[in-house]
Point group: D2
Chain length 314, copies 4
């Protein structure tokens, strides 16, 4: 995997990591270990945690509206956090906050931004010039359209077709960027390319880039809304290109708030929802009844989904 | 200006406009007149109002938490709405809601979506195939980068340079779309292009399009947040390509809630903010003192901004 | 149940109901039937729908980002709405909006307002004088503290204790109001009580009222956030005094968007969530295994909750 | 001023303050100095900062989407922050977050909670028993209703009337609490008062308390929304009892983000807004014209407001 940072960027990060200040605030030591470090995602992207507020104890503290730490024994805190998650007492989770710096393809950014309960500062192509970095799917992600799901992928493309896809994506992205620089009338070193021309305004020239170009932003959210984001985007129905970001973020979640992470995996990520009708079927199956889709009252699709959840043959 | 709708779309809109139902709800007759109609913006875009809730009376009604209409004489309602706007009593304005269907270039959509207090449903290129429609600036909008504002436009490009810009934008967008269809392995009529190939998944192929391609969405917000959006996006500092949408929306605002529109123009759109230091300068100028930037305590830039606001020479 | 409206209020409502205007907007005829009508809740409270935007078709329309109504056959719409609900595609539900006028005790309002994604205009006791109306629980709601749930009710109080509770609540509320008027130096008819006194400012005098006094507000939210509110507040764990409001609102939901209502009852209100560990137990039970809490890996409390869900003995 | 904490609470706070951990995160040393300390407000209330994220540098860093600290010279950072504030580039301010523990009268909490863009965990009177602490205005705040502003205070009450107000407020609050405990059937030490009685559920008994009783909550918000809260609640039109909280928070703002604080005081708290018509009058006055309300086009009320802003006689 190529390194997503240039030496100057890495040096800035190293300088941040080298400095340490005493604080009275709650700290998450395991998260401090990786603070500011870029965790590679896709071919040129990354996530890195650049700040956080609170830890597992802050959830407990807020739930108890306490004067001190609020925590008791670890087992009690764990039980309380699990209880809060299970019973959808969401507000104590809002008391923790995390800030990521993310580099991601524009088409992924467009999905991501639909989660509105977050704070975002994106690198502005009105002010600045974007780097020549674009996403091309790895060979094992070059998939055809799913035949049974209008929003999904089917088989991985092979041979000539795969090669042609790669060629088209690369050529178009490269050409778009060359023309972007020509429109701007700038060279890579920032010098004016043709002194006789003015160059097109940045806010206009950017429109010539393709949607796989990388952008970057600072993205900050509270723990509750992070869990909702992860619940939807780490789900198997999410597009692969955003799911890998969500999965990398779940790793940082575990370092930050291990008890909330465990509760999330137990109740949300690993949990399931059953409809009223599906619950009836489950009760009958537990009672020993042999039922099929016809008897269940469920549609074929919902029956298949239930069989998948229960790991039974449909 | 080209018509942004095809005949089928126009027929669907006409059918909606032809139907009428009695309702007990508050109505805004002038807005009903244009309901569902596409108002062209840019070369292929539009806005159209597809639903609304409330009118000027609903603002008054909410401010008074009344059982009936809440309105009194028009002059009283006008005064109350102006008072609410002036004193930032924002919640009564939240009691009106409007829903637009908007067709807009992707790079404009990316600015727009930063306003988070709204509801959005965007046309999905994971499920569906985008149309071959992209934005190319009109000749009078083909501007160079501003020399004194990193986020703005300077002179309009001329002659050969302008022609070359148009050529590049058009060629790259056309090529990107042709390759998009090749990646999908589809013809314009939806038929499979090459039976020997699978075609790339839609959620991947879309990344080959350029940022000037049009997307569309349903966008719904309350009146207070609409006014904030318009205050920022109809401002002279906003990029032209989003400002024209905001201006078209201000026209619909006037039809919908004329009293709130008037208050907005008076206090927000046409009003100004003065800093503490600028206010001191204004007081001294009113007292007859001749002061320049040096005496004002303002930075050069802020002094220039103040002179612009006061229509004085700096 | 006492009528929560005085004749003037009822007359204003009747006048609103009598008027009808043609509109091109989507209408929900069954909801129009009850528009503006006060539906009594508790001893002096009510909810009434005062405006709405959209219907079931608007959900479908937004999901399809269509030019026309977007709906097809009812069965298709029903299936799509169920699919959206099941797979947590929440944004199309945000395209419908509803506005209630609610009269409710202050302690209920304090729970309710914790749902932040809504627009609220409350009757202001800084400007106006509150009416002499306070909540006293009906005899069957006069419950003791639950012995096994720190946040719940136990047995209904009886006899002397119940009578004493009623007496205390009534006497204190009556006295607080009499003193409120004395502080304001006003009579019920608005006349000054004692010409020699100034009277305390309204914004201060209100602090002498007890938390069971009724307040009222306009409350507006989109359908998605309404369903979240109802999911939590119509739940059996919610306090009775807010649950009865949620239940009355579910009745209006059914009149407004019957397909979304049905999906809500099937997937949210009547559905259940199973944790990863509970799901494992369910699979084993379906396979015919006899397991108890010890084998399940669940805590005693979670096991009991699972047995309740499955209607089995724990 | 009485101390708002009991010895156990103070000990918990002292223990938090005594601990220190090294962190790689941005720190605000001046704010660390007062972290966790209770700052008294009103007769029994307080605010205390219990956590924070970011500093002035974090605003700059986000505005630049930088890899390192993002800050340059202090003067440059100051200029950038002022520029962002002046031009309503609000998102970089959202990158800082602060969490307060606040103890406040219920009627103040009800105003406060109307600011919805914040995270809140309130002490629950469904689970727990409230302390016997209620607010009584100091003699200099015992004001009559304003005669020219329906939402304001007039003269301070004197002599017999003031004494009677104090007596009523105290007596009713004391009685309400005694009856609250009787309803609960509990003594101050938590013991059951009358073994023959069950006691009313906590979620019901609380309704007997008056609105001047103190509650407490954890309240967390980002810097942008904090500034909006302070802009409205530290304003001279805000009710005194919430304004004193806002003013105490402004002091903590200065310790946390001194550059943002300075920009806030210059552009928001100390700045003014002029309507389009008021701006015209100002221009004419600067040009030496003598104009009165009649010539200005402003209403009498707006003219008076303008004269106040300009410190001129109306």
């Amino acid at each position: 995997m190529p390194m997503p940072l240039n030496p100057e960027q890495q040096a800035e990060i190293d300088a941040m990591r080298a400095a340490s200040t005493p604080t009275r605030r709650a700290c998450a030591p395991a998260l401090e270990e990786i603070l500011y470090q870029a965790i590679p995602v896709l071919d040129h992207g990354f996530i890195r945690v650049v700040d956080y507020m609170g830890d597992d104890g802050a959830i407990v503290q807020a739930a108890r509206v306490s004067y001190g730490r609020g925590t008791r024994r670890v087992s009690e805190d764990k039980g309380l956090i699990a209880y809060l998650m299970r019973h959808r007492h969401t507000t104590p989770f809002e008391m923790c906050e995390i800030k990521y710096h993310v580099k991601l393809p524009i088409f992924v950014a467009r999905q991501w931004i639909r989660h509105r309960t977050a704070n975002v500062n994106e690198y502005s192509a009105r002010y600045s010039i974007l780097d020549k970095e674009f996403y091309v799917p790895a060979p094992d992600q070059l998939s055809s359209q799913s035949s049974d799901n209008r929003q999904g992928r089917g088989n991985v493309l092979q041979g000539v077709e795969a090669a042609r896809v790669h060629e088209l994506l690369r050529d178009d992205a490269n050409r778009a960027y060359d023309h972007y620089m020509e429109l701007l009338n700038e060279n890579e070193d920032g010098a004016r390319r043709d002194p006789a021309r003015d160059g097109l305004a940045r806010e206009l020239a950017r429109m010539n880039l393709t949607l796989n170009y990388y952008t970057q932003w600072y993205w900050k959210t509270d723990l509750y809304n992070l869990l909702r984001f992860l619940g939807l985007r780490a789900d198997s129905h999410a597009q692969y290109e955003i799911r890998v970001y969500a999965e990398a973020m779940i790793d940082t979640l575990k370092l930050w708030v291990p008890l909330a992470h465990a509760a999330f995996m137990e109740y949300e990520h690993g949990g399931v929802r059953l409809s009223a009708t599906a619950l009836e079927s489950v009760k009958r199956m537990i009672a020993g009844e042999k039922i099929g889709q016809a008897e269940s009252g469920l549609s074929k699709r919902e029956w298949r989904e239930l069989m998948t959840v229960l790991e039974l043959e449909s």
